[in-house]
């Protein structure tokens, strides 16, 4: 718990930066747009329709969609910017809609009275229409506030730190305390900001000077804090830390922390973690320089980044191909192969395998029409799946996609019969699953490699050297046991990583 709470200030600050800036931008866009729409009739329907369409895009997808869009525009596509753009778009609709309806709801007799006492169109807007529409507009801002605070937790996969880091890593590592801390903190922040907006409204409408000043003061302090913390890294010429990335599963959390610890220890340079990145985002983040190093797997890069449909490549052939692709195509470095493979493996409950006499994947073919297979969402969409299916002629009764962290449980409770597990997952042993042999080599090799960005080669060769010393440092057994300590014994990935770095240093000590 203390480890969790130690992260709170940085996560909360990042979340606050995202939320406050996005809300300021949404309000800054939608209030003027709403005013314009209430003046220029043809503008109203298209702008509301557009905002409505944006709203119907699932929020996670909207944020993820910002990555390629910003990349195409040659802007920062990983990290703060895509999150801000996505959140801002999300906040536009409630404020826009309420501004339009608020102004439209002003009694026409009062509009006429405003003209009758001698107001210009502008004075009519400022002195009569906006004050009368204000409660409705504020209600829209409050809706946007609560939404944006909640949705900002989804900034984590696009590379912006937020309270979502608790939630994403907690979900993957089954750390329910982390999920709880993330949710409670987000809810608390939503209540606080909503309360402040409400206090400003009450202060304005009922003319409570004191209350208004207090609420405005609090908002100003929050904005100042967010602004200063946001600007600080830009101003001070502090050494930029070596950023270690991680996708969102246990092994990646452990390895990123281990790499960071190792680099700090070996080079004395500061490091930072950027975790819970979307699978493809991680690679892009190294490409754009947001991340300096992360762990990926040869088969993944082979299929996803190199777009090779032909997945039946030999292990060495694939490693060379990936190395060439990284170095020639992207100026990246394949800094080390860690020494283990994390590949897909079809597994069955040992007792069940015994009963059916299953040893190889081929043995499944006869039984498949009576069996259900579970796998993570990604697996069924990858080229491996048709390759395995066709090579062995498998035709399962049912294919169920589920989150990787729930898959083992589903196998244990016999909800599915076969799962596509990861070979380094400690839960294979913990749940007494049997790995079926891929004797016809349908599943490509997935060697774990360190992918380093161009900046390391140019500016920090010592870091590259340190990374190179991790060559072969982790075998599959070691990785499995580390994963198991997190997944089943509930240890913190950082703790497990620290212990690993400790042993590694002692081993390597002269």
């Amino acid at each position: 718990m203390t480890e969790l709470l130690a992260l709170l200030p940085s996560y909360l600050t990042a979340h606050l930066q995202l939320t406050l800036l996005a809300l300021l931008l949404s309000a800054g866009i939608s209030v003027p747009l709403g005013i314009a729409a209430s003046r220029i009739t043809w503008l109203e329907q298209p702008s509301l329709a557009l905002a409505g369409i944006i709203q119907t895009v699932p929020s996670l997808a909207l944020l993820a969609a910002m990555v390629p869009v910003l990349a195409a525009l040659d802007l920062q596509s990983i990290g703060f910017l895509p999150a801000i753009v996505g959140l801002t778009l999300y906040g536009v609709l409630p404020v826009l809609r309420n501004t339009v309806t608020g102004i439209a709801g002003v009694d026409p007799a009062l509009r006429e009275a405003a003209r009758g006492v001698g107001m210009t169109a502008r004075q009519q807007l400022l002195l009569v229409e906006l004050p009368l529409a204000m409660p409705v507009i504020v209600a829209g801002i409050r809706t946007a506030t609560v939404w944006v605070v909640g949705i900002a937790t989804l900034s984590t996969p696009v590379g912006a730190t937020s309270l979502g880091n608790y939630i994403f890593s907690g979900l993957q590592t089954r750390n329910y305390a982390a999920i709880l801390v993330g949710c409670v903190a987000a809810a608390g922040l939503a209540l606080l900001l909503d309360g402040l907006v409400r206090a400003i409204e009450v202060g304005l409408v009922r003319r409570r000077r004191g209350r208004l000043a207090a609420a405005l003061g609090a908002v100003a302090v929050l904005y100042a804090y967010a602004g200063i913390t946001l600007a600080a890294p830009l101003l001070g010429d502090r050494e930029r830390p070596i950023v270690v990335g991680a996708k969102s599963f246990t092994e990646q959390y452990i390895l990123s922390a281990a790499i960071a610890g190792w680099v700090e220890r070996e080079t004395g340079r500061p490091t930072a973690l950027l975790q819970s990145l979307g699978s493809l985002v991680a690679f892009d983040a190294v490409d754009t320089g947001e991340v300096d190093v992360y762990v990926d797997y040869t088969g993944t890069i082979w299929a996803n980044e190199m777009g090779r449909a032909q997945i039946r490549a030999g292990r060495a052939e694939m490693l060379d191909g990936v190395r060439d692709f990284l170095e020639d195509g992207h100026g990246m470095t394949l800094a080390a192969t860690l020494g283990f493979e994390n590949t897909y493996a079809l597994t069955v409950r040992a007792e069940h395998a015994e009963r059916l006499g299953l040893r190889t994947i081929g043995d499944l073919a006869d039984h498949a029409p009576r069996l259900a297979i579970g796998a993570d969402v990604e697996f069924f969409a990858r080229p491996e799946w048709p390759a395995v299916r066709d090579t062995y002629g498998l035709d399962f009764r049912e294919e169920r996609a589920m989150d990787a962290s729930l898959m083992y449980q589903a196998a244990a409770t016999e909800e599915v019969d076969v799962i596509s597990a990861y070979t380094t997952d400690g839960r294979i042993a913990a749940y007494d699953l049997r790995v079926l042999e891929d004797d016809r080599g349908a599943i490509p090799p997935y060697d774990a490699i360190l992918v380093a960005g161009a900046r390391l080669a140019a500016e920090a060769p010592d870091v590259l050297d340190a990374l190179a010393r991790l060559e072969g440092a982790i075998d599959a057994e070691r990785m499995r046991s580390m994963n198991l300590r997190v997944d089943e014994r509930g240890e913190d990935p950082a703790t497990v990583a620290a212990a690993f770095v400790e042993t590694l240093s002692n081993d390597r000590a002269p």
């Binding site: 006429e112 009275a113 405003a114 006492v117 001698g118 002195l127 009368l132």
Partner: protein
């Protein structure tokens, strides 16, 4: 002072005001009298350009109003709306101070003016910081009149200002308005469909029907020399009503005697 010449308003095929001409002298109070839908409000709004006329012109002190920016014109003319139209988000004092504020009066002058007006329309100065929703209908009407008078206009347009009030309150307000307009020498066009109100207030009455000004004259003119049947019927209503009242009183006395 106000010279309306051939004012006409058409909406599509419907002509709602047709060739309305009227000359209101300085300090005079002309009542526009007519049934519902006869075009009184439309005519009044064409005078301060809340409605732009389809044809015709209005001159104010000899100046064609079409040549002034509408908001400047309206700041010089007090207007009391049929539906009052007080701004609900402003206090009574702020409502009254609106036009002086638009004209950029110094704050002290405006504040003094607000006090003066509340007194003039016989409102308790303590109401100054209340919201309009916290006032009675009669009080709201007084605020509406005060707001129209705030920037010291020499011309006032009033659209059935006391229409929604009980007879006793209405009469009190009529009396205070008469005092005010005499004191300030206001040039006034006052719209009503209440015959008694017209007779009480008017220097001259203009009878409107179907968008046309049927007859214009002093109350006595209209009573004694109605131009046509419509005016005649209209002008005889108070007498008919009085006859009903007389009969009632007569009946009661008869009952009491027997």
């Amino acid at each position: 002072m106000i010279q309306a010449d051939g004012l006409t308003k058409r909406y599509g095929d419907a002509t709602v005001v047709d060739g309305f001409s009227l000359n209101v002298k300085a300090g005079e109070l002309v009542v526009l009298l007519g049934g519902s839908g006869s075009g009184k409000t439309t005519t009044l709004k064409m005078i301060n350009r809340l409605i732009e006329p389809t044809a015709g012109s209005v001159r104010l002190d000899g100046v064609d109003t079409a040549e002034l920016p509408p908001h400047e014109l309206r700041r010089r003319i007090g207007y009391v709306f049929q539906r009052i139209g007080l701004f609900p988000h402003m206090t009574v004092g702020e409502n009254v101070a609106v036009t002086p504020g638009l004209l950029g009066w110094p704050l002290e002058r405006t504040a003094a003016r607000v006090d003066e007006l509340l007194e003039l329309v016989e409102l308790d100065p303590a109401l100054r910081d209340r919201r309009p929703s916290e006032l009675s209908g009669g009080q709201q009407q007084r605020v509406g009149v005060a707001r129209a008078l705030a920037a010291e206009p020499r011309v006032m347009l009033l659209d059935e200002p006391f229409g929604a009030l009980d007879p006793v309150t209405r009469e009190r307000l009529q009396q205070s308005f008469l005092r005010i307009r005499t004191r300030l020498a206001l040039t006034t066009v006052f719209v009503t469909h209440d015959m008694t109100e017209a007779l009480t207030l008017a220097d001259r009455i203009g009878v409107m029907h179907d968008g046309r000004l049927l007859q214009l004259g002093t109350p006595r003119d209209l009573l004694t020399r109605p131009a046509d049947d419509y005016v005649d019927r209209l002008m005889s209503t108070p007498r008919r009503q009085a006859a009903v009242v007389d009969a009632l009183i007569g009946g009661t006395t008869a009952e009491a005697r027997s």
